[in-house]
Point group: C2
Chain length 209, copies 2
DNA sequence: GAACTCTTGGACCGGATGGTCCAATATTGT
DNA sequence: ACAATATTGGACCATCCGGTCCAAGAGTTC
């Protein structure tokens, strides 16, 4: 990892590299982005890349993953923190949709990353999977609170439901990337929320948007 | 495309290449699989690769996509053909789950392919997206038949529901690849079917598995 | 069996890529 | 001011990779 201490200038350069590299990787994937591309896109030199990321491309990719994770978690606030009312889930849905609609390129920076890394850099992939689990954990925690609060039936399985909702998010984003439209994510989230509502106690009404 | 006519021996060699290359790409991705890997994995020579795939790697990748598409569509039969009863959907779910559980590696050969190609080979990506749309079209057609048969409410939107179900499939497979477990796909499919049932006319009962 | 086509082997090439290294310059701390 | 450390530029390298080419072998057709 980065062993040497960073001055303010150094930290700024590092941030510039990560941010630009994140955009490149989002647009063209890890394999499609060379370190020379990053160098050209940040007006830096080869030595700087390896100065701030001694581990080379792998370490840079991990830094990108961390940045993207931070961004997407941030975009889901304040809803993600609680997610213990139906209104929270609706707000969460809208926030997520708005975030990805505003993104310069389609697709999920984390999902595509992990899908590519699994086959080429298992060690890095494992770290990124950890991030995915952290994200998914927030959804599960919210569902646990919903169940404890009586908004879900006692026999509802938060772990399983969170997995399903998260799959809808990732799948929606994959299709969003493939079809170059936000529609798939929107449809996927609606269906996921519908499925959640189906786990509410009897008598609970839900109008699909 | 392949211009010269193929003898039986030639066709066999071509098939062997595509089949082995499909496994390699599934395991390590397009970027992680070199033509030399394919050559070594099929006991062929460089010239054969370019003899049967004059378009080079792109053309080989397209052939792989076609093969994988054929396989996955086949695995969903006979349910995919109709999908006009709830029993069909249950059967479809089980068939899909069984297919991917039996696969030598986790993940969707088509989904990961398209997510990787979008950034590096847009032309090939477009073709593969066409395959995805064909698959999704079958789901939509089934939902249209369900609606026409009164098993879905008249105001249900088959296009939108198909998108959501398909997103669950792809997202489930992405997580299946990341977490190296079939659970995510199972949970995603269950939730997707639950959401479908929510579009059934009033009075319709559905017991979540 | 001869002419033709399909198939196969493998050497070779040019360019891209990840990574190393060293020297020069700026910054920091005392 | 001066030493130590952080930052920067860029030449250089070994390797990998997609792709080309030619010549020899196998199979088909008449």
């Amino acid at each position: 990892m980065t062993a040497t201490r960073l001055t303010a200038k150094g930290a700024a350069t590092r941030d510039r590299i990560v941010s630009a590299a994140a955009d490149l990787v989002l647009a063209r994937g890890v394999g499609g982005t060379s370190l020379d591309d990053v160098r050209a896109g940040t007006l830096t030199s080869k030595s700087q890349l390896f100065h701030y990321f001694p581990g080379g491309k792998s370490e840079l990719v991990l830094a990108i993953a961390e940045l993207q994770m931070q961004r997407v978690l941030q975009a889901q606030q304040p809803y993600l923190r609680t997610l213990d009312t139906w209104a929270d889930w609706d707000g969460w849905r809208d926030a997520l949709l708005a975030h990805y609609a505003a993104q310069p390129h389609w697709g999920c920076p984390i999902g595509t990353l992990v899908s590519e890394l699994v086959g080429t850099d298992p060690a890095a992939a494992a770290t990124v999977v950890g991030h995915l689990n952290r994200w998914r954990g927030h959804l599960r925690d919210g569902l646990v609170r919903m169940r404890d609060g009586g908004l879900l039936r006692p026999d509802a399985d938060p772990e399983c439901l969170a997995l399903a909702v998260f799959a809808s998010v990732q799948g929606g984003l994959l299709l969003t990337q493939a079809l170059r439209s936000i529609e798939p994510l929107s449809a996927a989230l609606d269906a996921a929320l519908t499925a959640l509502h189906a786990a509410a106690p009897d008598g609970h009404a839900y109008a699909t948007r």
